[in-house]
């Protein structure tokens, strides 16, 4: 149908301003052996916003997420090319220590995976690894981080209990607290609530919205409705390509690429 009046369509991949971006990704490719798993991805991840990555299984969204904190380095035969900067510093390549990257870019996984230790020690684990020994300092970090993770009121009387005594939703928020305890700038979340019930999911989403005031959040989710509820920007991946990226409301209300349209309308398969 012809357009009435003037309307300039947005680009299929909308690049937000570089100066407000935490990550700049340019022509990034990931190979697992001969498999070209991520192809020529270029985008900016805006600072202190929630960016959601959606797409069917095997589309490359988790592969992309793992690039952002160099987790792909742990996979044998994995090769990453292109440019990736975190606050203007290049973070790909052997010259960059992945541990330093991961200190600034925390990650939370699909299934809550607390360490087999107390609630307190889970949160204090990272700061201790980075040299914090003073009891008062650790107490303060644990309390502040648990408060940020909306968990303090629920666990303040059981800090010495095993983390496994907590519910699934509480364990996931503990994992978020553990990631935040080393004061990262970015929080990556890979399907953070797919193993949780709706109420726990709601709490995680509420927490994401609170945390984005201080952190850049990138979330991979199979749940389109979660992306539509919490994300400011959404990227749609298919067969290793970033098909479309833009403001969440546009991706779900008027996507440009017909493949995005098919996916968000459940017309795949």
């Amino acid at each position: 149908m012809a357009e009435h009046g003037t309307f300039t369509p947005r680009p299929v991949v909308l690049l937000t301003p570089e100066e407000t971006a935490t990550f700049l990704v340019r022509d990034m490719n990931v190979f697992y052996g001969d498999n070209h798993a991520l192809q020529h991805v270029t985008l900016n991840v805006p600072s202190r916003q929630i960016t959601a990555l959606i797409g069917p299984s095997g589309c490359g969204k988790s592969t992309f997420l793992r690039c952002l904190n160099r987790m792909n380095d742990t996979i044998l035969g994995c090769r990453v090319t292109g440019e990736l900067t975190l606050d203007t510093h290049a973070i790909l390549g052997r010259a960059v220590d992945p541990v330093e990257v991961r200190k600034r870019v925390g990650m939370v996984f699909q299934r809550p995976n607390p360490f087999p230790m107390s609630v307190y020690d889970n949160v204090a684990y990272g700061p201790r690894r980075h040299g914090a020994r003073n009891r008062g300092v650790l107490d303060r970090i644990v309390e502040e981080t648990l408060r940020k993770s909306a968990l303090w009121d629920e666990v303040k009387d059981k800090l010495r209990h095993s983390a496994f005594d907590l519910s699934g939703g509480q364990q996931q928020r503990l994992c978020i607290a553990r990631a935040l305890a080393v004061q990262p700038d970015v929080l990556l979340m890979d399907e953070p609530s797919s193993a949780l019930d709706p109420i726990s999911t709601f709490k995680i989403e509420e927490l994401m919205l609170e945390l984005k005031e201080h952190y850049t959040i990138v979330i991979v989710t199979h749940n389109m409705y979660q992306a539509s509820r919490v994300a400011d920007f959404t990227g749609f991946f298919l067969h290793g390509e970033l098909i479309e990226y833009g403001p969440t409301v546009e991706i779900f209300e008027r996507p440009i690429d017909p493949r995005t349209d098919d996916y968000v309308r459940g017309r795949f398969g």
Binding site: M1, H4, F7, F252, R265, R267
Partner: protein
């Protein structure tokens, strides 16, 4: 066994069919109300008044199915736009039915008032307005942008005729106070037709939104002559 997506597609198709049925129904109300006015046919006018209950039922039925689909299918993209459009269009169509009833009531009111001369501008306004309603519905069915343009262009002509009716009727009322009762009603009829035309433009705007995702006003806001 149809897939959930096939079921949803069938529901969307049924929704479109319901909207079309309602559209033709209120279009019939509009045409008959003006016919009843012209022919001073009280029986036909009363028939139009009775049809309003059916239009209201169709409206509620469409709104209910839209709400069910929103709740159960959580639509996105084009599907969301179709349902959002249906929710808006059904209200416009229901209002077109209401204004047709207003015209029919006027026909009943004026059935025993002799016309000094045959009506000219009001039937022409009614013809344009009917074409607009039909055109907007055709645009909905065919997703045809040209139909939308046609509706918008006709709206300008309806607005002009409304201004002409106002000018002619007020002048006649000044010259012949005995015409006041009849002409005041005719001014109202012209106003009802002008409002129906605005609702047809609303439908056209929604069809454009449904297709493009761009929501914008296609015609200038209506103006009341003499205001």
């Amino acid at each position: 066994m149809p897939s959930p997506r096939q079921t949803f597609d069938a529901q969307l198709h049924a929704l479109e069919q319901r909207l079309l049925r309602m559209g033709s129904f209120v279009e019939g109300m509009l045409e008959d109300s003006v016919k009843a006015l012209e022919l001073q046919d009280t029986a036909l006018a009363e028939e139009v008044v009775r049809r309003d209950d059916v239009a209201d039922e169709l409206d509620l039925d469409i709104e209910t199915s839209c709400m069910h689909m929103l709740a159960l299918q959580q639509p996105m993209s084009k599907d969301l736009r179709v349902i959002g459009t249906a929710l808006k269009i059904t209200t416009d169509l229901e209002r077109i039915g209401d204004y047709s009833v207003d015209i029919a009531r006027t026909a009943i009111e004026l059935a025993s008032e002799p016309f000094l001369r045959p009506l000219v501008r009001i039937p022409r306004m009614a013809e344009f307005t009917s074409r607009m309603v039909r055109g907007a519905l055709e645009a909905f069915v065919s997703r045809n942008a040209e139909k939308i343009d046609e509706v918008v262009n006709l709206d300008d002509q309806v607005d002009d005729l409304n201004v002409q009716v106002w000018a002619a009727m007020t002048m006649e009322m000044k010259e012949d106070p005995s015409s006041i009762y009849r002409n005041a009603h005719m001014i109202l009829v012209a106003r009802y037709l002008e409002r129906i035309a605005d609702h047809a433009v609303n439908v056209a705007e929604r069809v454009q939104y449904m297709e493009t995702g761009i929501l914008r006003q296609l015609a200038a806001s209506h103006q009341t002559p003499g205001a």
